[in-house]
Subunit: 237 residues, 2 copies
DNA sequence: ACCTGAACACCGTTCAAGT
DNA sequence: ACCTGAACACCGTTCAAGT
C-alpha cells in the first residue's frame, strides 16, 4: 500500500496561491494608514477598499461590518502601548509612565482617541484588555483592592482617553498650516466676545487656550496620582 | 394732508404672519427632542426637517450647516447646568456639586457627551463658556491662579465629559431592554476569554464591569478633589 | 472561497425655481 | 425672505452572479 500524498495536500496548496488573497491583517494595516491620512471621517469602507485594490463589497468577506473594522483598528493602536518595564518599580512611577505611553500611542495616530470612544472598550482583540490589565496590575501592586482597584483603573483610563480626545479634536478644523491661525482665531474670538461676563475665563485666558498640552496633561496626571496616593495612605493608617 | 398708514406697514405685517416662520429656537428645540429619541446617529438634517414639517434644504435658511446645529444643541444642553448656588460655599463642596450637576445635565440627554466631544468647546452660544467660567471661578476662589487655575479647570472638565462619554456609549448597543442582557453578555464574554492571561482584570472583574456608575464617578471625583486640595496646601505652605 | 456589478436606502449640501 | 424639487457626490450594506 503506497503512502502517496493526497492530491490536494494543504502543504502544497499554501505556497502555490497566486496572490495570497487579502489577509485580515492587510485590511487592518491599510485601515490604520487610511486613518492617519484621512482621519476618522475619511475612514470609509469604500476608501479602504480602493486602497486595497478591491471593491467595497469584497471587504464583507473578511469582516462583519464597519464596526468590526473600527474595533480591530482600536486594538491595533492599543498594541502600541508598551507594557510596564519592570514590575518592581514604585507604583507612582509605573503609573506615570504607563499614562504617558498610553497618551503617546494615541497621539501617534490621527483621531485615535475618537476611535476609541466610538468603539466598545472590551475588544475583540487582546490589547485593550491587556492595557487595562497592566493598569489594574500596577494599582493592585500599590495596595488597591477590589472596588478601589477597579475604580482607580477606570479613573486613569478615563483621564487619558478623555484628555487626548479633547487634545486631538482641538485640531479638527486645522487641515494644513491652520494650526497657528486657529490659535490666533480663538484668541481673537475670546478678546472680542463679551468677556466681561466671563471674568474668570478672562483672568486665565492665556493658559486656558494655549497649546501647551504637555503641561496640562502632567498637571492632571500628577493631581490624579496625588489623589490616589492620599486615598491609599488614609485607608491604611 | 391725511396721515394714512403706508400700505404695507411693518407694524401691520408682523402680527399678520400666517405661520410665525420657523424660528432658530424651534430648530434647536426640535433637534434636542430628536437627539433624545433617535440618538446622535439618528440626528439627521433630513429627520430634523421632517420633524419641523419642512424640506431638508429649508434648514439652510436658518443655519449654516450641520455643525452649527450641533454647536447650538451642545450649548442648549449646557444651559441646563445650574450655576453654583452661593459664592461663599467651601470650594471643595462647590466643585463637587458643580461636577455632579454637570454630569446630571449630560445624562439627561442621550449621547450628550458624544455631542460635546464632536463640537468645538468654545461655542457660538454662551453656556459652554459660562460653565467653564463657573469652574474657573470656584478654583480661583479656592486659591488657584494663572496656569494652575486653568489646568485644574481643564482637568475637572475633562474628567466629567470623559467619564460621561464612556458611561453613555457603554449603553450604545442597548436599544430596548437589552441593558441587563448586555451586562450578562459582557460578564459571559469575560469569563470565557483566556482570562488567565489577564489576572488583574480577573481579580476585580466584578466592580470593573458592574453598572454602579455613581460609585465610579464619585471615586474619581473625590480623588481629583483630594489631589487638587493637596496641590493647594503644598503650594501655600 | 473570494470578487464584481448593481442596486437599495440612506447621508449633507447646493441651486434654480417658485411665492 | 423663505420654501420646494431636483440633483450631486457621497455613505454602509446586500445580493445575485461570476470564477
Amino acid at each position: 500500500m503506497p503512502r502517496s500524498r493526497p492530491p490536494h495536500s494543504v502543504l502544497w496548496e499554501v505556497p502555490s496561491r497566486p496572490r495570497p488573497t487579502l489577509t485580515r491583517d492587510d485590511l487592518v494595516r491599510a485601515a490604520l494608514a487610511l486613518l492617519d491620512e484621512a482621519g476618522f471621517d475619511g475612514l470609509t469602507m469604500r476608501n479602504l477598499a480602493e486602497r486595497l485594490g478591491v471593491q467595497a463589497a469584497s471587504l464583507y468577506n473578511h469582516v462583519r461590518d464597519k464596526r468590526e473594522v473600527l474595533a480591530l483598528l482600536a486594538d491595533a493602536i492599543m498594541a502600541e502601548v508598551p507594557p510596564p518595564e519592570s514590575a518592581d518599580a514604585p507604583w507612582h512611577d509605573a503609573l506615570y509612565w504607563l499614562a504617558c505611553d498610553y497618551r503617546r500611542a494615541l497621539l501617534t495616530h490621527r483621531d485615535a482617541a475618537r476611535l476609541l470612544s466610538e468603539t466598545t472598550p472590551l475588544g475583540p482583540g487582546p490589547n485593550r484588555l491587556r492595557v487595562l490589565d497592566d493598569l489594574v496590575g500596577i494599582l493592585r501592586g500599590a495596595g488597591f483592592a477590589g472596588e478601589a482597584a477597579a475604580d482607580a483603573a477606570w479613573l486613569c483610563n478615563t483621564f487619558v482617553t478623555g484628555f487626548v480626545l479633547e487634545e486631538q479634536t482641538q485640531l479638527v478644523s486645522s487641515d494644513d498650516a491652520a494650526a497657528g491661525e486657529r490659535q490666533a482665531d480663538v484668541a481673537g474670538w475670546l478678546s472680542q466676545l463679551p468677556l466681561e461676563h466671563y471674568p474668570n475665563v478672562l483672568a486665565v485666558a492665556g493658559p486656558l487656550i494655549d497649546g501647551e498640552t504637555d503641561r496640562r496633561f502632567l498637571f492632571g496626571l500628577n493631581t490624579v496620582l496625588d489623589g490616589l496616593e492620599l486615598r491609599l495612605s488614609t485607608s491604611r493608617g
